[in-house]
């Protein structure tokens, strides 16, 4: 995994030599033309869901995959975005005495609210090394769900909020497509800048990165805030699309897991891994797990264990390596070569 990231990141940005971004642009254009073929509403909805999953995965990758700060509570920002839109569209009269906002006005605030929260939280937890951050985020998600449930006058509590329905599947399709293009494009751009290299340096050796003069706290906080901003926008969009939010559907645990697993499955810290992982994961869910819905979370948990153990470079790593790991290596109880012996 490490060797792969080092080689692909070291090449300088040259728009004409990089085929991957052009392939991506081509795919986006194709996707943009898709509604012209007059597809059914159900198909548009499926495409929208895939775009949302790709966007979430790509955003999680920005903090979890690039800096190695595993965020177990990234759904918090999704929730903040969703509730910002929900509250501003339905309750702003009672709470801030402002006129009711339209979706587009409220949407701007959903990203900003998530980003502000990320900055506050990041100031506390990102100065430390990874594991503290991970558990703090897990606790944040648990606490947030309870807080939303308790603040009934503002959030509607367990009863939830009904948003004004403006069901327009084509508009939703393009909006989610735009969000996905933005997130993945940003990821690609970051991966090819010094900022991205610094983030990877933090993941590989934080103390070393600090000694080389990288302001690690600033880099981590920037990545975290950007990621939270985009995730907040997705949450706001999702609330509008779903027209109903309550703590259970917003802080839906499989969604939290799926964005993490999509990244690990595709390849941590790569640009194209998370989209690939998200598509594969969505396919698995539709064709396989929907028949075993009662065991959906169990399937996701086991899949995470399996991928971490046997496919640490993700699908992208598998493709770059060109071969699968042989079975006898999989069954060995210990790592074949430990780190010390290597050095």
């Amino acid at each position: 995994m490490r060797a792969a990231t080092a080689t692909s990141a070291s090449a300088p940005v040259s728009l004409f030599r990089r085929w991957d971004i052009w392939a991506w642009v081509g795919l986006i254009l194709l996707a943009a033309l898709y509604p012209l073929s007059d597809p059914t509403t159900a198909r548009l909805l499926v495409a929208t869901q895939i775009f949302v999953l790709i966007t979430l995965a790509s955003n999680w990758n920005l903090i979890g995959g690039m800096t190695g700060y595993v965020d177990f509570g990234h759904l918090t920002f999704f929730g903040i975005g969703a509730y910002t839109v929900g509250i501003l569209m339905t309750r702003s009269k009672e709470i801030v005495f402002a006129p009711q906002l339209s979706f587009w006005q409220a949407w701007v605030f959903s990203g900003l609210a998530a980003m502000v929260f990320a900055l506050l939280l990041g100031a506390a937890t990102l100065r430390l090394r990874g594991p503290y951050f991970s558990i703090a985020m897990l606790a944040t998600l648990l606490a947030m769900r309870e807080i939303v449930r308790l603040l009934t006058p503002i959030t509607g509590g367990g009863g939830g909020l009904d948003l004004p329905p403006e069901l327009n599947r084509i508009e939703e399709y393009y909006l989610s497509l735009g969000l996905m293009t933005l997130s993945v494009g940003l990821m690609w751009w970051i991966r090819n800048t010094e900022f991205g290299l610094s983030l990877l340096a933090i993941r590989e050796d934080e103390v070393g990165a600090e000694m080389r003069g990288i302001n690690t706290t600033l880099h981590k906080t920037t990545a975290f805030a950007l990621s939270a901003f985009l995730t907040g926008l997705v949450g706001g969009f999702w609330a509008w699309q779903n027209t109903y939010i309550d703590p259970d559907v917003v802080f839906f645990e499989p969604r939290n897991l799926e964005m993490i697993i999509a990244v690990v499955l595709g390849g941590l810290g790569t640009v194209w891994g998370p989209p690939l992982g998200a598509v594969v994961l969505y396919g698995l869910r539709e064709f396989f797990w929907n028949r075993f819905l009662f065991a959906h979370l169990l399937g996701l948990g086991l899949m995470l264990i399996f991928v971490v153990l046997f496919l640490p470079g993700g699908l992208i790593g598998l493709m770059q390596k060109g071969r699968a790991i042989p079975l006898h290596e999989l069954l060995r109880p210990r790592p074949a070569v430990s780190q010390e012996e290597e050095a």
């Binding site: 190695g68 090394r129 991970s134 558990i135 648990l142 308790l150 264990i305």
Partner: protein, 294 residues
């Protein structure tokens, strides 16, 4: 007097927390692994006690003794087969792996036992009066059992050969290897003991805690907050951190209206963030900077 009574309740709960956290803290201190599935092992112990009580009428404190060898084997095998593979990799990997394990365990239990709340009601569930204070019987027994086990664990780590090799592996892995300690085997034994003790803690609180498959994360977060307060792998530190958390939780439940039983997560979370901001090295300087194996 109500304040002193609340303080007493907090101390009783805190003693249990100090014991509950030990497995988490020792695994972290010895292997540098954050056991995110900690709460799930508490849950497994509690379910064991519930099942034994329901099927055979066995007392939860007897179940606590029975569950230790079973969960020792579970912990040993998990460590030997799975976690030893990632113990020398960066933290990113072991965190993700343990997250997967915790989700899987909770959902296996959900499939077997459904998401319903279970409870164990023992005959001696009441309380007794002593020196003007009310002592809840079960919590008092738990408190003293926890202290007893802590003393036992301390003796084990300091007086026995296996205990000494565990401490050696924690202090200097390379040197331990050189003097002939099989570090991976020591890790597996450590995981067995820690996960066994965690399940014992789970079985002991079965009479005073609703049991359901997703009760785990709160205990994991509590364990983390206590570790931040009391430091890593040190039994007195764990006890002190546990007492602190227990007292704060109990006082808040009593004096803040509407806080209720949900207060646990929020309190741990706030303590955690406060400690991390003001004293990143932990309250007792016990937290060392966590570095991955590589």
């Amino acid at each position: 007097m109500p304040f002193l009574q609340a303080l007493l309740n907090g101390i009783l709960v805190g003693g249990f927390y100090g014991f509950m956290v030990l497995g988490f803290s020792i695994i972290w201190g010895v292997m540098g692994i954050i056991n995110l599935a900690h709460g799930e092992y508490v849950m497994m112990g509690a379910y064991f006690a519930w099942a034994m009580f329901r099927a055979f009428g066995i007392d939860p404190f007897v179940s606590a003794l029975l569950v230790f060898p079973i969960m020792f084997v579970v912990g040993y095998v998990l460590q030997w087969l799975i976690i030893n593979r990632v113990v020398e990799r960066p933290h990113l990997i072991s965190l993700l792996l343990n997250f997967g394990i915790s989700i899987s365990i909770a959902n296996i239990y959900k499939l077997i036992y459904k998401a319903d709340y279970r409870s164990v009601t023992v005959a001696y569930a009441g309380s007794f009066q002593l020196a003007g204070f009310t002592f809840p019987t079960v919590k008092t027994i738990i408190f003293f059992a926890a202290l007893l086990i802590m003393v036992g664990l301390h003796l084990f780590l300091h007086r026995t050969r296996v205990g000494k090799s565990i401490r050696a592996a924690a202090q200097n892995k390379e040197a331990a290897r050189i003097v002939g300690i099989d570090v991976h085997r020591v890790y597996a034994i450590t995981a067995g003991i820690c996960i066994g003790l965690t399940a014992v803690a789970g079985a002991m609180i079965a009479p005073i805690q609703p049991i359901f498959p997703f009760m785990g994360p709160i205990f994991t977060v509590r364990a983390f907050a206590i570790t931040a307060l009391g430091g890593l792998g040190r039994i007195p530190g764990a006890l002190l951190g546990g007492l602190l958390l227990g007292i704060v939780e109990t006082l808040l439940t009593i004096y803040v209206p509407g806080a209720g039983a949900k207060v646990g997560t929020a309190v741990s979370f706030i303590i955690l963030v406060l400690v991390l901001i003001t004293r990143p090295q932990g309250l007792l300087k016990g937290l060392r900077p966590v570095e991955g194996g590589a």
